[in-house]
């Protein structure tokens, strides 16, 4: 029972206007996640009446600035703080900013390090 999931590829600069479009059409923010490949690949997922859509863009380095969407969807501040703590991404103007104290881990930015394949 695989459901249809639509992917929309965008650039970082279009992020805020696309998210505002979704908000005006009545979508709810479902989740924000990141994958560490050669670059950082982000996915912002939205849903309305079981129709699932997600925005996809990448940043090359952890220091590249990404605008925050917590002004449009207030609940996004939790996801963005988590991305900052685990991956070291630079997200600007989060509504409530924990400044690195959200998850205190023994290694800083555990996911942002180089991806090494280890044999079991």
């Amino acid at each position: 029972m695989k459901e249809q999931q639509k992917i929309i590829n965008i650039q970082v600069s279009q992020l805020k206007e696309k998210v505002k479009e979704f908000k005006n059409q009545g979508y709810r923010l479902v989740q924000i996640s990141c994958t560490r490949l050669e670059n950082f690949e982000l996915s912002y997922s939205f849903d309305k009446n079981y129709e699932f859509v997600y925005l996809r863009f990448s940043v090359a380095k952890a220091e590249d600035p990404i605008p925050s969407v917590s002004g449009i969807y207030w609940c996004a501040f939790l996801y963005e703080n988590e991305l900052h703590d685990l991956f070291g991404l630079n997200i600007k103007d989060i509504v409530i900013d924990y400044k690195g104290q959200f998850y205190t881990t023994a290694i800083k930015n555990p996911f942002g390090q180089e991806f090494k394949q280890e044999d079991k």
Binding site: V30, T35, S45, Y50, F52, Y73, T104
Partner: protein
């Protein structure tokens, strides 16, 4: 202007099942705002995907949480099966549905007990958990473990339930239904319980939708969204109507959860009529290559597993977004403006499962 004090709530508190910390800013017993702090039991389970191959990872996925354990394992399997294009046999779909609904019944009975404990009604707490023991015995008889089922597997399920066992389960649940009706009469009609729940923590329909709330918290504010309608497992043949309540206060959340217990017992009855005979698993060959977001309905709301594979036997990324993580903003909105003595009841009405939230 009255003086503001900051009172720390948690991480250790008699009413909380798991540690979460809230800084409550109060003015003379009225809470003005709440600032959350999580991260006390962060185990880094998402990083473990780099060390365990995708078939063995089911054991880790099941142990993310103790209460919603089977549905975590099942959602992981649904995600990997969608990426690899594996078709699960019908009998395995029905068995997965039966175990998911048993999981939902025991989780809601646990929640009823904890809520009764939160407003001090210990006798009701013990009675709810006495009924829950019977459900746990059914689960142990069929899968081998009381809390961690160990029966989810990529390609199907690991153990089978014989037809006479399914009939025995339905008979036990029929007897249980009368006892649950007696308990729910106390929750819904007793004046002292109503005094603590009615009108406390109202969440309006627009707020619940805009803040991204999921599960019974969203449905108790009048929005009819239930991920079981997507049709995973056997839910394409068993229709589920979302149960909603327009009031939006803690009493409405209690009503929605109690009615979901009766709905789950009915779903198990329907599954018994419709289950087919046949194999319970299918052989898995190859490695996953692609990505997919798998969504199912846990007792607490909608859980999402993002699976990304690149053709090797180690997955590239597995990300879990649990329902309690999505309900925390709704909790912060509800806490602003409530009395200090209502804080434990409100924290429990969103059904916090912090070990899920922090993986």
């Amino acid at each position: 202007m009255t003086k503001r004090t900051i009172i720390p709530f948690g991480p250790q508190h008699p009413v909380l099942p798991e540690p979460i910390h809230l800084d409550l800013v109060v003015e003379d017993e009225l809470v003005v705002e709440a600032i959350p702090r999580i991260g006390f039991i962060h185990r880094g389970l998402e990083k473990l995907i780099e060390k365990r191959d995708f078939v063995d990872f089911v054991y880790v996925a099941e142990r993310i949480c103790g209460i919603c354990s089977f549905i975590h394992g099942m959602t992981y399997c649904v995600g990997v099966e969608a990426v690899m294009g594996i078709e699960v046999p019908r009998r395995a779909q029905y068995l997965r549905t039966i175990w998911s609904e048993l999981s939902r019944i025991h989780s809601h009975l646990l929640w009823l007990g904890l809520t009764a404990d939160a407003f001090g009604f210990e006798n009701l707490f013990m009675n709810s958990w006495r009924i829950r023991e019977i459900v746990l015995d059914i689960i142990e008889e069929t899968t081998g473990g009381r809390v961690i089922f160990g029966s989810a597997k990529i390609g199907g399920v690991r153990v089978d339930i014989a037809p006479e066992q399914i009939a025995a389960i339905v008979k036990k649940l029929n007897k249980l239904e009368k006892e649950i009706k007696d308990i729910s009469n106390v929750f819904l009609k007793d004046p002292s319980v109503k005094h603590r729940l009615v009108g406390v923590g109202v969440l309006s329909k627009d707020d619940a939708y805009a803040l991204g709330a999921v599960g019974p918290v969203l449905r108790a504010s009048g929005v009819a969204l239930d991920t079981r309608q997507l049709g995973y497992a056997a839910f394409d043949e068993i229709k589920v109507t979302p149960i909603t309540d327009p009031r939006g206060d803690s009493y409405a959340r209690c009503v929605v959860r109690i009615q979901e217990i009766f709905q789950s017992i009915d779903i198990i009855r329907q599954a018994k009529e419709k289950i087919r005979v046949g194999p319970i698993e299918v052989k898995v060959e190859g490695t996953p290559n692609g990505e997919y977001f798998a969504r199912t309905e846990q007792p607490r709301g909608e859980v999402i597993y993002y699976i990304k594979g690149d053709g090797t036997k180690f997955l590239k990324r597995m990300r879990v977004r649990t329902p309690t993580f999505a309900n925390v903003p709704a909790l912060l909105k509800v806490l602003a403006g409530c009395q200090l003595a209502d804080v434990p009841v409100l924290v429990l009405t969103i059904d916090p499962c912090i070990s899920c939230t922090e993986r």
